[in-house]
Symmetry: C2
Subunit: 221 residues, 2 copies
Amino acid sequence: MEAPQNTKRTKASEPTLKRLPRYLHYLQKAQDKGILTISAPVIGKELQCDPTQVVKDLATTGVKGRPRIGYNIHELIQTIESFLGYNRANEAFLVGAGNLGMAMMSYPDFQRFGLKIVAAFDTNRDKIGRSRSGINILHMNKFQDLARRLQVRIAVLTVPHTVAQEVTDLLVASGIEAIWNLTPSQLQVPEHVIVQNTSMYANVTLLLKKLQEKDESESVQ
Amino acid sequence: MEAPQNTKRTKASEPTLKRLPRYLHYLQKAQDKGILTISAPVIGKELQCDPTQVVKDLATTGVKGRPRIGYNIHELIQTIESFLGYNRANEAFLVGAGNLGMAMMSYPDFQRFGLKIVAAFDTNRDKIGRSRSGINILHMNKFQDLARRLQVRIAVLTVPHTVAQEVTDLLVASGIEAIWNLTPSQLQVPEHVIVQNTSMYANVTLLLKKLQEKDESESVQ
Protein backbone atom coordinates (compact mmCIF):
# COMPACT_ATOMS: atom_id res chain seq x y z
CA MET A 1 0.00 0.00 0.00
CA GLU A 2 3.06 2.29 0.16
CA ALA A 3 3.75 4.82 -2.56
CA PRO A 4 6.66 4.17 -4.89
CA GLN A 5 9.95 5.29 -3.34
CA ASN A 6 11.20 7.34 -6.26
CA THR A 7 8.25 9.67 -6.66
CA LYS A 8 8.48 13.33 -5.73
CA ARG A 9 4.70 13.49 -5.62
CA THR A 10 2.87 13.17 -2.34
CA LYS A 11 -0.70 12.10 -1.73
CA ALA A 12 -2.80 15.25 -1.90
CA SER A 13 -5.36 16.16 0.74
CA GLU A 14 -8.96 16.80 -0.36
CA PRO A 15 -8.72 20.59 0.19
CA THR A 16 -5.55 20.66 -1.94
CA LEU A 17 -7.28 18.65 -4.68
CA LYS A 18 -10.12 21.15 -4.66
CA ARG A 19 -7.73 24.10 -4.94
CA LEU A 20 -5.54 22.70 -7.73
CA PRO A 21 -8.20 23.04 -10.50
CA ARG A 22 -8.72 26.61 -9.37
CA TYR A 23 -4.99 27.37 -9.67
CA LEU A 24 -5.00 25.68 -13.06
CA HIS A 25 -7.92 27.74 -14.27
CA TYR A 26 -6.22 30.96 -13.17
CA LEU A 27 -2.85 29.92 -14.62
CA GLN A 28 -4.40 29.14 -18.01
CA LYS A 29 -5.96 32.60 -18.08
CA ALA A 30 -2.59 34.16 -17.09
CA GLN A 31 -0.78 32.16 -19.79
CA ASP A 32 -3.32 33.33 -22.38
CA LYS A 33 -2.35 36.89 -21.44
CA GLY A 34 1.28 36.08 -22.30
CA ILE A 35 2.65 35.76 -18.76
CA LEU A 36 5.69 33.42 -18.63
CA THR A 37 6.57 33.14 -14.94
CA ILE A 38 4.48 33.58 -11.82
CA SER A 39 5.08 33.61 -8.06
CA ALA A 40 3.09 32.03 -5.23
CA PRO A 41 2.24 35.43 -3.65
CA VAL A 42 0.74 36.61 -6.97
CA ILE A 43 -1.35 33.42 -7.26
CA GLY A 44 -2.34 33.72 -3.61
CA LYS A 45 -3.39 37.33 -3.95
CA GLU A 46 -5.49 36.67 -7.05
CA LEU A 47 -7.25 33.63 -5.55
CA GLN A 48 -7.40 34.96 -1.99
CA CYS A 49 -5.29 32.13 -0.54
CA ASP A 50 -2.33 32.21 1.83
CA PRO A 51 0.88 32.15 -0.34
CA THR A 52 2.42 29.52 1.99
CA GLN A 53 -0.59 27.33 1.24
CA VAL A 54 -0.10 27.89 -2.49
CA VAL A 55 3.57 26.80 -2.27
CA LYS A 56 2.56 23.73 -0.26
CA ASP A 57 -0.26 22.79 -2.67
CA LEU A 58 1.98 23.17 -5.72
CA ALA A 59 4.79 21.17 -4.08
CA THR A 60 2.35 18.25 -3.82
CA THR A 61 2.45 17.94 -7.61
CA GLY A 62 6.26 17.73 -7.58
CA VAL A 63 6.85 21.14 -9.20
CA LYS A 64 9.41 23.54 -7.74
CA GLY A 65 9.59 27.31 -8.04
CA ARG A 66 12.84 29.29 -8.20
CA PRO A 67 13.66 32.04 -5.67
CA ARG A 68 12.89 35.58 -6.93
CA ILE A 69 11.58 34.14 -10.24
CA GLY A 70 8.75 31.87 -9.23
CA TYR A 71 7.32 29.16 -11.44
CA ASN A 72 7.56 28.68 -15.17
CA ILE A 73 3.88 28.96 -15.99
CA HIS A 74 3.94 26.45 -18.87
CA GLU A 75 5.73 23.82 -16.76
CA LEU A 76 3.40 24.50 -13.84
CA ILE A 77 0.27 23.96 -15.95
CA GLN A 78 1.67 20.75 -17.46
CA THR A 79 2.63 19.39 -14.05
CA ILE A 80 -0.73 20.13 -12.41
CA GLU A 81 -2.61 18.66 -15.39
CA SER A 82 -0.52 15.52 -15.30
CA PHE A 83 -0.88 15.24 -11.50
CA LEU A 84 -4.65 15.57 -11.75
CA GLY A 85 -4.79 13.04 -14.60
CA TYR A 86 -6.36 15.52 -17.04
CA ASN A 87 -4.19 14.24 -19.88
CA ARG A 88 -5.73 10.79 -19.51
CA ALA A 89 -9.04 10.00 -21.18
CA ASN A 90 -11.33 8.67 -18.48
CA GLU A 91 -14.41 7.26 -20.13
CA ALA A 92 -17.66 7.45 -18.21
CA PHE A 93 -21.29 6.40 -18.61
CA LEU A 94 -24.00 8.80 -17.54
CA VAL A 95 -27.08 7.32 -15.93
CA GLY A 96 -30.30 9.34 -15.93
CA ALA A 97 -30.86 11.63 -18.93
CA GLY A 98 -33.11 14.11 -17.14
CA ASN A 99 -32.46 17.83 -16.91
CA LEU A 100 -29.26 17.61 -14.95
CA GLY A 101 -28.08 14.61 -17.00
CA MET A 102 -28.66 16.52 -20.23
CA ALA A 103 -26.78 19.51 -18.82
CA MET A 104 -23.83 17.29 -17.90
CA MET A 105 -23.79 15.84 -21.44
CA SER A 106 -23.65 19.34 -22.90
CA TYR A 107 -20.47 20.36 -21.09
CA PRO A 108 -17.56 20.16 -23.53
CA ASP A 109 -15.27 21.27 -20.71
CA PHE A 110 -15.48 18.01 -18.78
CA GLN A 111 -13.37 16.35 -21.45
CA ARG A 112 -10.68 18.98 -21.06
CA PHE A 113 -10.68 18.05 -17.37
CA GLY A 114 -10.19 14.36 -18.09
CA LEU A 115 -13.75 13.03 -18.08
CA LYS A 116 -15.31 11.82 -21.31
CA ILE A 117 -18.98 10.80 -21.20
CA VAL A 118 -19.21 8.16 -23.94
CA ALA A 119 -22.85 7.11 -23.56
CA ALA A 120 -25.96 7.92 -21.52
CA PHE A 121 -28.64 5.58 -20.17
CA ASP A 122 -32.27 6.01 -19.19
CA THR A 123 -35.44 3.94 -18.96
CA ASN A 124 -37.74 6.58 -20.48
CA ARG A 125 -38.64 5.38 -24.00
CA ASP A 126 -39.11 8.97 -25.21
CA LYS A 127 -35.45 9.64 -24.54
CA ILE A 128 -33.90 6.44 -25.82
CA GLY A 129 -32.44 6.76 -29.30
CA ARG A 130 -31.99 10.52 -28.95
CA SER A 131 -28.59 12.11 -28.49
CA ARG A 132 -27.06 15.21 -26.98
CA SER A 133 -23.69 16.66 -28.01
CA GLY A 134 -22.92 13.45 -29.89
CA ILE A 135 -23.66 11.26 -26.86
CA ASN A 136 -26.32 8.62 -27.53
CA ILE A 137 -29.02 7.80 -24.98
CA LEU A 138 -29.44 4.04 -24.65
CA HIS A 139 -31.82 1.85 -22.66
CA MET A 140 -30.67 1.02 -19.16
CA ASN A 141 -30.93 -2.70 -19.94
CA LYS A 142 -27.85 -2.30 -22.16
CA PHE A 143 -25.73 -0.84 -19.34
CA GLN A 144 -24.24 -3.97 -17.82
CA ASP A 145 -23.20 -5.54 -21.10
CA LEU A 146 -21.68 -2.32 -22.49
CA ALA A 147 -19.88 -1.39 -19.26
CA ARG A 148 -18.16 -4.77 -19.28
CA ARG A 149 -17.35 -4.84 -22.99
CA LEU A 150 -16.02 -1.27 -23.06
CA GLN A 151 -14.43 -1.63 -19.61
CA VAL A 152 -15.97 1.62 -18.44
CA ARG A 153 -15.16 2.19 -14.77
CA ILE A 154 -16.84 5.54 -14.06
CA ALA A 155 -20.54 6.43 -13.82
CA VAL A 156 -22.15 9.86 -13.49
CA LEU A 157 -25.36 9.39 -11.52
CA THR A 158 -28.17 11.85 -12.31
CA VAL A 159 -31.26 9.69 -11.70
CA PRO A 160 -34.17 10.68 -9.39
CA HIS A 161 -33.14 10.13 -5.76
CA THR A 162 -35.98 7.61 -5.30
CA VAL A 163 -34.18 5.09 -7.52
CA ALA A 164 -30.60 6.12 -6.74
CA GLN A 165 -29.72 3.11 -4.56
CA GLU A 166 -31.36 0.57 -6.85
CA VAL A 167 -29.45 1.96 -9.85
CA THR A 168 -26.22 2.08 -7.83
CA ASP A 169 -26.54 -1.63 -7.06
CA LEU A 170 -26.76 -2.30 -10.79
CA LEU A 171 -23.72 -0.08 -11.50
CA VAL A 172 -21.66 -1.93 -8.91
CA ALA A 173 -22.80 -5.30 -10.27
CA SER A 174 -21.66 -4.10 -13.71
CA GLY A 175 -18.11 -3.45 -12.51
CA ILE A 176 -18.29 0.32 -12.05
CA GLU A 177 -15.52 1.44 -9.67
CA ALA A 178 -16.19 5.17 -9.31
CA ILE A 179 -19.53 6.98 -9.06
CA TRP A 180 -20.04 10.72 -9.28
CA ASN A 181 -23.24 11.01 -7.26
CA LEU A 182 -25.24 14.11 -8.18
CA THR A 183 -28.35 12.87 -6.35
CA PRO A 184 -29.04 13.87 -2.74
CA SER A 185 -29.04 10.19 -1.71
CA GLN A 186 -26.40 8.63 0.49
CA LEU A 187 -25.30 5.60 -1.54
CA GLN A 188 -24.40 2.27 0.01
CA VAL A 189 -21.51 0.73 -1.93
CA PRO A 190 -18.86 -1.93 -1.34
CA GLU A 191 -15.55 -0.68 0.04
CA HIS A 192 -13.70 -0.84 -3.29
CA VAL A 193 -16.11 1.58 -5.00
CA ILE A 194 -15.31 5.30 -4.89
CA VAL A 195 -18.19 7.76 -4.51
CA GLN A 196 -17.87 11.50 -5.01
CA ASN A 197 -20.95 13.32 -3.72
CA THR A 198 -22.01 16.66 -5.18
CA SER A 199 -25.27 17.49 -3.50
CA MET A 200 -26.87 20.55 -5.01
CA TYR A 201 -29.18 20.66 -2.01
CA ALA A 202 -26.37 20.69 0.53
CA ASN A 203 -24.87 23.65 -1.29
CA VAL A 204 -28.15 25.54 -1.42
CA THR A 205 -28.57 24.88 2.29
CA LEU A 206 -25.12 26.27 3.11
CA LEU A 207 -25.82 29.43 1.15
CA LEU A 208 -29.21 30.07 2.74
CA LYS A 209 -27.92 29.31 6.22
CA LYS A 210 -25.01 31.73 5.85
CA LEU A 211 -27.45 34.43 4.72
CA GLN A 212 -29.71 33.69 7.68
CA GLU A 213 -26.78 33.86 10.12
CA LYS A 214 -25.67 37.15 8.60
CA ASP A 215 -29.19 38.57 9.12
CA GLU A 216 -29.29 37.33 12.70
CA SER A 217 -25.89 38.79 13.55
CA GLU A 218 -26.90 42.13 12.00
CA SER A 219 -30.18 42.25 13.91
CA VAL A 220 -28.28 41.73 17.18
CA GLN A 221 -25.71 44.45 16.52
CA MET B 1 -22.01 40.30 16.55
CA GLU B 2 -22.90 37.96 19.42
CA ALA B 3 -25.76 35.50 19.13
CA PRO B 4 -28.90 36.17 21.21
CA GLN B 5 -28.47 34.92 24.78
CA ASN B 6 -31.71 32.98 25.00
CA THR B 7 -31.26 30.74 21.99
CA LYS B 8 -30.68 27.03 22.34
CA ARG B 9 -29.33 26.95 18.82
CA THR B 10 -25.62 27.17 18.21
CA LYS B 11 -23.82 28.32 15.10
CA ALA B 12 -23.42 25.24 12.94
CA SER B 13 -20.10 24.29 11.37
CA GLU B 14 -19.94 23.79 7.59
CA PRO B 15 -19.63 19.98 7.85
CA THR B 16 -22.72 19.92 10.12
CA LEU B 17 -24.64 22.09 7.65
CA LYS B 18 -23.73 19.67 4.88
CA ARG B 19 -24.92 16.67 6.91
CA LEU B 20 -28.23 18.15 8.10
CA PRO B 21 -29.96 18.01 4.68
CA ARG B 22 -28.85 14.38 4.42
CA TYR B 23 -30.41 13.55 7.80
CA LEU B 24 -33.54 15.39 6.73
CA HIS B 25 -33.76 13.47 3.48
CA TYR B 26 -33.42 10.17 5.32
CA LEU B 27 -35.89 11.18 8.06
CA GLN B 28 -38.51 12.16 5.50
CA LYS B 29 -38.19 8.74 3.88
CA ALA B 30 -38.45 7.05 7.31
CA GLN B 31 -41.52 9.13 8.19
CA ASP B 32 -43.14 8.15 4.89
CA LYS B 33 -42.70 4.53 5.97
CA GLY B 34 -44.70 5.27 9.15
CA ILE B 35 -41.81 5.40 11.63
CA LEU B 36 -42.63 7.65 14.64
CA THR B 37 -39.44 7.73 16.71
CA ILE B 38 -35.82 7.21 15.75
CA SER B 39 -32.47 6.99 17.56
CA ALA B 40 -29.09 8.49 16.69
CA PRO B 41 -27.44 5.05 16.27
CA VAL B 42 -30.11 4.07 13.72
CA ILE B 43 -29.57 7.31 11.77
CA GLY B 44 -25.81 6.87 12.06
CA LYS B 45 -25.90 3.32 10.79
CA GLU B 46 -28.09 4.17 7.81
CA LEU B 47 -25.99 7.18 6.79
CA GLN B 48 -22.63 5.69 7.78
CA CYS B 49 -21.89 8.40 10.35
CA ASP B 50 -20.63 8.13 13.92
CA PRO B 51 -23.74 8.22 16.23
CA THR B 52 -21.98 10.69 18.56
CA GLN B 53 -21.60 12.98 15.57
CA VAL B 54 -25.30 12.58 14.78
CA VAL B 55 -26.27 13.57 18.34
CA LYS B 56 -23.93 16.56 18.18
CA ASP B 57 -25.25 17.68 14.77
CA LEU B 58 -28.88 17.38 15.84
CA ALA B 59 -28.20 19.24 19.12
CA THR B 60 -27.04 22.20 17.01
CA THR B 61 -30.63 22.70 15.87
CA GLY B 62 -31.87 22.81 19.48
CA VAL B 63 -33.72 19.46 19.35
CA LYS B 64 -33.29 16.93 22.16
CA GLY B 65 -33.74 13.17 22.09
CA ARG B 66 -35.07 11.12 25.01
CA PRO B 67 -33.04 8.26 26.52
CA ARG B 68 -34.10 4.82 25.22
CA ILE B 69 -36.73 6.40 22.96
CA GLY B 70 -34.76 8.71 20.73
CA TYR B 71 -36.25 11.52 18.74
CA ASN B 72 -39.85 12.17 17.75
CA ILE B 73 -39.39 12.06 13.97
CA HIS B 74 -42.04 14.68 13.19
CA GLU B 75 -40.56 17.16 15.67
CA LEU B 76 -37.06 16.39 14.42
CA ILE B 77 -37.98 17.11 10.81
CA GLN B 78 -39.74 20.35 11.74
CA THR B 79 -36.81 21.54 13.84
CA ILE B 80 -34.18 20.80 11.19
CA GLU B 81 -36.30 22.45 8.48
CA SER B 82 -36.80 25.53 10.61
CA PHE B 83 -33.10 25.64 11.56
CA LEU B 84 -32.08 25.43 7.90
CA GLY B 85 -34.61 28.08 6.92
CA TYR B 86 -36.51 25.76 4.54
CA ASN B 87 -39.84 27.11 5.70
CA ARG B 88 -38.88 30.56 4.49
CA ALA B 89 -39.32 31.48 0.85
CA ASN B 90 -35.96 32.73 -0.34
CA GLU B 91 -36.44 34.28 -3.74
CA ALA B 92 -33.56 34.10 -6.17
CA PHE B 93 -32.69 35.26 -9.67
CA LEU B 94 -30.85 32.89 -11.95
CA VAL B 95 -28.26 34.40 -14.27
CA GLY B 96 -27.25 32.48 -17.38
CA ALA B 97 -29.96 30.34 -18.99
CA GLY B 98 -27.59 27.84 -20.62
CA ASN B 99 -27.71 24.09 -20.09
CA LEU B 100 -26.93 24.15 -16.40
CA GLY B 101 -29.16 27.18 -15.84
CA MET B 102 -32.07 25.43 -17.55
CA ALA B 103 -31.48 22.33 -15.42
CA MET B 104 -31.53 24.44 -12.26
CA MET B 105 -34.81 26.04 -13.36
CA SER B 106 -36.35 22.60 -13.84
CA TYR B 107 -35.75 21.42 -10.27
CA PRO B 108 -39.00 21.64 -8.33
CA ASP B 109 -37.13 20.35 -5.27
CA PHE B 110 -35.15 23.53 -4.72
CA GLN B 111 -38.33 25.25 -3.58
CA ARG B 112 -38.93 22.53 -1.00
CA PHE B 113 -35.43 23.29 0.27
CA GLY B 114 -36.16 27.00 0.65
CA LEU B 115 -34.91 28.41 -2.65
CA LYS B 116 -37.38 29.80 -5.16
CA ILE B 117 -36.03 30.91 -8.53
CA VAL B 118 -38.45 33.67 -9.57
CA ALA B 119 -36.85 34.80 -12.82
CA ALA B 120 -33.91 34.00 -15.10
CA PHE B 121 -31.69 36.35 -17.07
CA ASP B 122 -29.57 35.99 -20.17
CA THR B 123 -28.22 38.13 -23.02
CA ASN B 124 -28.96 35.62 -25.79
CA ARG B 125 -31.94 36.99 -27.77
CA ASP B 126 -33.02 33.47 -28.76
CA LYS B 127 -33.64 32.67 -25.11
CA ILE B 128 -35.28 35.88 -23.95
CA GLY B 129 -39.07 35.66 -23.76
CA ARG B 130 -38.99 31.90 -23.35
CA SER B 131 -39.73 30.20 -20.06
CA ARG B 132 -38.93 26.97 -18.23
CA SER B 133 -41.06 25.48 -15.46
CA GLY B 134 -42.98 28.73 -15.23
CA ILE B 135 -39.82 30.83 -14.84
CA ASN B 136 -39.47 33.55 -17.47
CA ILE B 137 -36.15 34.34 -19.13
CA LEU B 138 -35.58 38.08 -19.27
CA HIS B 139 -32.86 40.27 -20.76
CA MET B 140 -29.92 40.92 -18.47
CA ASN B 141 -30.46 44.67 -18.85
CA LYS B 142 -33.59 44.30 -16.69
CA PHE B 143 -31.67 42.65 -13.82
CA GLN B 144 -30.65 45.68 -11.77
CA ASP B 145 -34.04 47.36 -11.83
CA LEU B 146 -35.95 44.16 -10.98
CA ALA B 147 -33.55 43.03 -8.24
CA ARG B 148 -34.05 46.37 -6.52
CA ARG B 149 -37.80 46.56 -6.97
CA LEU B 150 -38.43 42.95 -5.87
CA GLN B 151 -35.70 43.14 -3.21
CA VAL B 152 -34.17 39.88 -4.41
CA ARG B 153 -30.98 39.16 -2.46
CA ILE B 154 -29.85 35.81 -3.93
CA ALA B 155 -28.42 35.02 -7.37
CA VAL B 156 -27.67 31.63 -8.90
CA LEU B 157 -24.73 32.11 -11.27
CA THR B 158 -24.61 29.77 -14.27
CA VAL B 159 -22.95 31.98 -16.88
CA PRO B 160 -19.83 30.97 -18.89
CA HIS B 161 -16.73 31.37 -16.71
CA THR B 162 -15.27 33.92 -19.13
CA VAL B 163 -17.90 36.49 -18.08
CA ALA B 164 -18.39 35.33 -14.46
CA GLN B 165 -16.53 38.22 -12.81
CA GLU B 166 -18.07 40.88 -15.02
CA VAL B 167 -21.58 39.57 -14.27
CA THR B 168 -20.76 39.28 -10.56
CA ASP B 169 -19.81 42.97 -10.46
CA LEU B 170 -23.24 43.79 -11.88
CA LEU B 171 -24.99 41.52 -9.34
CA VAL B 172 -23.18 43.20 -6.46
CA ALA B 173 -23.98 46.66 -7.85
CA SER B 174 -27.65 45.57 -7.97
CA GLY B 175 -27.71 44.77 -4.25
CA ILE B 176 -27.33 40.97 -4.41
CA GLU B 177 -26.06 39.69 -1.06
CA ALA B 178 -25.60 35.98 -1.71
CA ILE B 179 -24.29 34.26 -4.85
CA TRP B 180 -24.44 30.53 -5.55
CA ASN B 181 -21.47 30.25 -7.91
CA LEU B 182 -21.76 27.26 -10.22
CA THR B 183 -18.99 28.51 -12.50
CA PRO B 184 -15.37 27.39 -11.98
CA SER B 185 -14.30 31.02 -11.50
CA GLN B 186 -13.06 32.42 -8.22
CA LEU B 187 -15.25 35.50 -7.74
CA GLN B 188 -13.99 38.74 -6.24
CA VAL B 189 -16.74 40.27 -4.09
CA PRO B 190 -16.98 42.84 -1.29
CA GLU B 191 -16.83 41.43 2.23
CA HIS B 192 -20.59 41.66 2.87
CA VAL B 193 -21.46 39.39 -0.07
CA ILE B 194 -21.73 35.64 0.58
CA VAL B 195 -20.48 33.25 -2.10
CA GLN B 196 -21.17 29.53 -2.14
CA ASN B 197 -18.96 27.74 -4.67
CA THR B 198 -20.10 24.50 -6.29
CA SER B 199 -17.45 23.71 -8.84
CA MET B 200 -18.44 20.75 -10.97
CA TYR B 201 -14.84 20.60 -12.16
CA ALA B 202 -13.38 20.38 -8.67
CA ASN B 203 -15.68 17.44 -7.97
CA VAL B 204 -14.76 15.65 -11.19
CA THR B 205 -11.11 16.18 -10.32
CA LEU B 206 -11.52 14.67 -6.86
CA LEU B 207 -13.22 11.60 -8.30
CA LEU B 208 -10.61 10.99 -10.99
CA LYS B 209 -7.75 11.59 -8.58
CA LYS B 210 -9.13 9.08 -6.06
CA LEU B 211 -9.46 6.50 -8.84
CA GLN B 212 -5.89 7.20 -9.96
CA GLU B 213 -4.58 6.85 -6.40
CA LYS B 214 -6.47 3.59 -5.99
CA ASP B 215 -4.86 2.25 -9.19
CA GLU B 216 -1.42 3.35 -8.02
CA SER B 217 -1.79 1.75 -4.59
CA GLU B 218 -3.01 -1.50 -6.19
CA SER B 219 -0.11 -1.61 -8.63
CA VAL B 220 2.34 -1.26 -5.73
CA GLN B 221 0.77 -3.98 -3.61
